[in-house]
Every structure is written in structure tokens, then in C-alpha cells.
């Protein structure tokens, strides 16, 4: 940038001085904006430091081996046991049940929206999915407790008020929009030429969709599945309200279970004093929860990046 022909030397000097000040201001602004970005790094660092330092106290008293392999979880009883497996069992029971609903429904919804629906229908359905995705989780918890649970208890009268099935179903419903919308993005990214080539060979619409488009979009679809599982693992309010507070090793969906998230809520609602071993358990459980979800999110990103088919 060359300056325009300057007027007088004095004017030029003033102008240059003004510019030097302006550059100072520019630097300050750039620094300030960098600090805004750095807050996100501080957040991650904060989460990791808090989880590690607070659970360090816990692991001084409870060996890590016992924590990770124990099959009894009873920190609040006189007979204390600190095996996290029952909480993991509850979490994965909910996640598996939720995925059994969200995967097929979400994926077929995505296929319909991307391959079959007219633009008009798609324009009408997508906002409905957005509304479903925007409903607070505590509302889903209410829905599970006052609608889904009574329905389950009519079909299986021996079921208790709190049961894994109700939590799993409601979490499944909750993550359908996520699976549908991310999978639809992946399906939409498949170039039209691939579909036309398959039609040219005489394939029907069903064959084009399931044997050409879905395989071509598979990495994006799998990535959306993994993100959805991670979301189901971290889901808190709906499972706290619907699935109960009974940590146990079971594969029976009609029993009450407790997830990692529901346990953390239970402790923070209670009167457990700060600094006790019972209180420190929430940080140890939080640590496990954080690493499971982080691992899944990273895996999902890797899959999108590594296995994406690039079409030109």
C-alpha cells in the first residue's frame, strides 16, 4: 500500500503519527480477539485439571483396578463398594436401547428426505425435526415418566415406575433428529452422477438408494451414529427421571438402573458434604464419562476425515 501524494510535511507527520497509533490499536484488538479464542482452550484445560485433581483424592483411597472392575456400586451405604461397572452397565443399556430406535428410524428418515421426498415435503419435515431436537431434555424426561412408562406398564404389568426401557426409548426419540440430519447431509453430498450411472444400468430407485448412495455416504452415516451414541451416553435429565437410581448389573430393560450421569445428579442433589470420599466419586465418574464421550467424538471426526470418498 503506497500512500497517496502527501500534502505538506507537517500534515504527513501528523498522518503518520495517527497511523502509528492506529497500528497500536490494531495490535491490541488482535490480542484481545486471540484471548477470546484462548478461552476455549482454557475450558478444556479446566475440565481436565478439575477432573484429574479432584479424582486424585478418590484414587488415593480406592485402587483404580477395583474402581474399573468392581461389580458393586454403593458409596452411600454403610457397606461401601466403588466398582463403576454397574453404572457403565446402566449407561450402555440405555445407549444400546436408544440406538436400536434412533439408528433405523433416523437413517430411513434421512434416506426418505434425501432420495424420495419432494422439496415441499422436505421443507415441511425439516422444521419438525428441528423442533424435536430443540425440546429440552427435562421435557423428554417428563414425557417418559408420564406417557412412555405407563404404556410400558400396561404391556408388562410387573414393570416398576423406573425402568431402563422408558429411558432408552425417550433417549432414542431424542437423538433421531441428530442421526437423521447428519446422515441426510452425508447422503446429499453424494454426487448426482453416481445415481444417474446406476439408473443407466437399469437399477430401481431402491437399488440406487441402498446399493449406491448409502455405501457412498457410509463414512458420514457411521460418524453420525457414533456422535449419537456419545450423546446418548452423556444424556442426563431424561434418564435421571425415567430410568431410576438403582446401580446394578442387568440386561433386563424392565428393571430400574442407574447411569453415570444420573448418579452424578443424585449426589449433587443430596446432602453429601464437600471433600468426603462419597463426594469425590462424582469427579471419578465424571472423568470416565468425559473420556468415553471424548473418545467417541474424536473417533467420529477421524472417520469423517479418513474414509470420506472424495468425488470430483
Amino acid at each position: 500500500m503506497s500512500p497517496a501524494a502527501g500534502p505538506s510535511p507537517a500534515g504527513l507527520a501528523a498522518e503518520l503519527g495517527h497511523r502509528a497509533r492506529r497500528r497500536w490499536g490494531e495490535r491490541a484488538i488482535a490480542g484481545l480477539l486471540f484471548l477470546c479464542g484462548a478461552i476455549s482452550i482454557l475450558t478444556t484445560a479446566g475440565i481436565v485439571i478439575v477432573l484429574f485433581t479432584e479424582s486424585a483424592g478418590f484414587f488415593r483411597k480406592v485402587p483404580i483396578g477395583e474402581f474399573l472392575t468392581g461389580t458393586r456400586w454403593s458409596p452411600l451405604f454403610a457397606d461401601q463398594h466403588f466398582g463403576i461397572l454397574p453404572l457403565l452397565n446402566g449407561t450402555f443399556l440405555i445407549a444400546v436401547g436408544a440406538m436400536a430406535i434412533a439408528l433405523p428410524v433416523g437413517l430411513t428418515s434421512a434416506i426418505y428426505l434425501s432420495e424420495y421426498a419432494t422439496p415441499k415435503l422436505r421443507g415441511a419435515v425439516k422444521p419438525i425435526l428441528e423442533v424435536l431436537a430443540g425440546i429440552p431434555t427435562v421435557v423428554y424426561g417428563y414425557f417418559a415418566l408420564t406417557f412412555i412408562t405407563p404404556v410400558i406398564r400396561t404391556v408388562f404389568p410387573s414393570t416398576g415406575i423406573f425402568n431402563a426401557a422408558s429411558g432408552a426409548i425417550v433417549v432414542g426419540i431424542m437423538i433421531i433428529p441428530m442421526v437423521a440430519s447428519l446422515s441426510e447431509d452425508a447422503l446429499n453430498a453424494v454426487p448426482q452422477s453416481l445415481r444417474e450411472a446406476a439408473y443407466g444400468l437399469g437399477a430401481t430407485k431402491f437399488e440406487v438408494s441402498t446399493r449406491v448412495v448409502v455405501p457412498a455416504a457410509l463414512s458420514g452415516i457411521v460418524a453420525s451414529f457414533i456422535l449419537a451414541i456419545s450423546r446418548a451416553v452423556g444424556e442426563t435429565m431424561a434418564v435421571t427421571l425415567a430410568a431410576g437410581a438403582t446401580p446394578k448389573m442387568t440386561l433386563n430393560f424392565l428393571e430400574s438402573v442407574q447411569t453415570m450421569t444420573a448418579y452424578i445428579v443424585q449426589i449433587s442433589l443430596g446432602e453429601t458434604p464437600h471433600g468426603t470420599l462419597e463426594y469425590q466419586t462424582i469427579f471419578a465418574v465424571g472423568l470416565v464419562l468425559f473420556f468415553i464421550t471424548l473418545g467417541m467424538n474424536i473417533l467420529s471426526q477421524r472417520i469423517t476425515r479418513r474414509f470420506r470418498e472424495v468425488y470430483e
Partner: protein, 289 residues
């Protein structure tokens, strides 16, 4: 296609296709039906409890006298403070990443980190808020501690949405500004930001609507469920609508469930209004560039 997949009967192939299409349509219908049932369930339980008194009364142990005044005011406080904290920082971070950040490993880490933060379960933010804001910084179980926690929670969403909006501003606009001698910040302040603003606001409103529905992190930092007065300063204890809903839903009595349904109706109306505002902003100011 390989030989073994060769299916000679055209009629059968078409029938399979029709069945598949019907199944896919059924999936879509399922979501719509669930939404309708959910809304009908809430309206059926809650509508009869909804009244002006319900909005203006404080919580009570007697269902017929209970209201959500403190929860509504708490939610408003929470939303205002959360926005005041997360909007400038989120937009600032987005400007840095889009306009200033050099293409280095540090920037890449920053970007990956933001994507990962967006996937951290909200209850983990609650644990962070409890340790840092409530205990370490000594804010106690206050509106401020809650707002900072929720602010961190929605920060990644605001950053990502703002980045998209800034990215969509054409480079020619920046070059024109530089061409007449504007500095970098002048260019951003007067030319990039005004064009990106509708997109940024839409993203911010949507993320705030997520924040006012959040329950778990606020339970973690100890939002009280039985508050008979609204906060008067950022350091006061508080309750919010979702916490009140959780509290009533967790009670065994059916009357409290109906109160929860009425409060859910209020919350859903607020959320719908915010979403409508976001869509309005998106359509109204989608500038013709």
C-alpha cells in the same frame, strides 16, 4: 452389479422398492406422531393449571397455590447474563479464527478443540462450573456461577455459527475496504461484521434457547429448587424453569406432574418464540450479496 445380485423379476424388485419407500415414510411419520403425542400429553395435563396466577405466584408446597414467578425471573436473569458473557467472547473468537489466525498447528488445535467442546456432555460443564465458579472463585450457588457455566457450554456453538456467518462474507468486500486504505479492524468492524450479523444473531439466539432449557449443569452447581424470591443481584441464589419442572416431575403426586406440564408449556412457548425470532432474522436480513 455382480451376477449373484442379478434379480430377474422386475415386479419383485419394484415391490421391494415400494415396501422400502413405505418403511422410510413410516419413519418420518413416527417422529411427527411422537411430537404430536408429546405436545398433546403436555397440553392435556398442564393447560388447566395455566393462569395469570400461575405465572405470578411463588412456588408452594400446596399445588393449588404454586406458581413459577421466581423460575421465570431466574430464567430471564440467567439468559441475560449468559448472553452478556458468551456473545462478545464467542463472536471475538470467531473473528480471530476467521480473520486473524495464521494457518499454524496452534490454530488447528484451537479449531479441533472447539469442535470437541461442542460434544462434551452438559453435566461435565456442570462439574467444571461447580469446581471453578462455585468453589474456587467463590461465587457460591449464584446466578453468576450458573450463567458463566452455561456461557462456557454454549460458547462452542456460538463460535461455530459465527464463523460460518463470517466465512459467508465475500472476500471482494474486504478487498474493496483495504483498497481505499482501511485497516484490518476497520474493515472487519464496518464491512464484515454488519454483513455477518444476522447469521451471528441467529446462531446466538438458537444457542441461548438451548441454554434456557438446560437443567443438568445447573443442578450440578446447586441451583435451588425451592426459591420463594427472585434474584436481585448476580450473586443471589436462583431457580430456573427447567429446574422447577424437574423438581415437580420428580415428585410422586399427580398434581405436581400437572404443574410441571403447565411450566413446560410456558418454557416451550418461550423456546418457540426464540426460534421464530431466529428464523425471522435469518429471512429478513439475509442480505442480497
Amino acid at each position: 452389479m455382480s451376477g449373484e445380485r442379478f434379480a430377474p423379476s422386475m415386479r419383485r424388485r419394484k415391490r421391494t422398492g415400494a415396501i422400502f419407500q413405505a418403511l422410510c415414510l413410516a419413519s418420518i411419520t413416527f417422529s411427527i406422531v411422537v411430537l404430536v403425542i408429546l405436545l398433546a400429553d403436555v397440553v392435556a395435563d398442564g393447560a388447566k393449571w395455566l393462569s395469570v396466577d400461575f405465572l405470578t405466584r411463588y412456588p408452594s408446597r400446596i399445588p393449588a397455590r404454586a406458581g413459577i414467578r421466581s423460575a421465570i425471573l431466574g430464567s430471564l436473569w440467567m439468559m441475560g447474563l449468559t448472553a452478556a458473557f458468551s456473545f462478545p467472547i464467542g463472536v471475538g473468537a470467531a473473528i480471530y479464527l476467521e480473520e486473524y489466525a495464521p494457518r499454524t498447528w496452534l490454530t488447528r488445535i484451537l479449531q479441533t478443540n472447539i469442535a470437541n467442546l461442542a460434544g462434551v456432555p452438559s453435566i461435565v460443564y456442570g462439574i467444571l462450573g461447580l469446581a471453578i465458579f462455585v468453589r474456587f472463585l467463590g461465587f457460591g450457588r449464584s446466578v453468576l456461577a450458573g450463567a458463566l457455566t452455561l456461557g462456557l457450554l454454549i460458547l462452542p456453538v456460538i463460535i461455530i455459527a459465527s464463523q460460518e456467518a463470517i466465512k459467508a462474507v465475500p472476500t471482494s468486500l474486504r478487498e474493496a475496504a483495504y483498497g481505499v486504505g482501511a485497516t484490518k479492524w476497520q474493515t472487519i468492524r464496518h464491512h464484515v461484521l454488519p454483513v455477518a450479523l444476522p447469521g451471528i444473531l441467529t446462531g446466538t439466539i438458537l444457542s441461548l434457547s438451548r441454554a434456557i432449557g438446560e437443567t443438568a449443569p445447573l443442578i450440578m452447581i446447586g441451583a435451588l429448587t425451592f426459591i420463594a424470591f427472585p434474584p436481585t443481584s448476580p450473586l443471589d441464589p436462583f431457580t430456573v424453569l427447567p429446574i422447577q419442572i424437574f423438581n415437580w416431575t420428580a415428585k410422586p403426586q399427580a398434581d405436581f406432574h400437572d404443574l410441571a406440564a403447565a411450566a413446560i408449556l410456558v418454557l416451550l412457548v418461550v423456546l418457540l418464540a426464540m426460534n421464530a425470532l431466529a428464523i425471522f432474522l435469518r429471512n429478513r436480513f439475509q442480505t442480497r450479496i
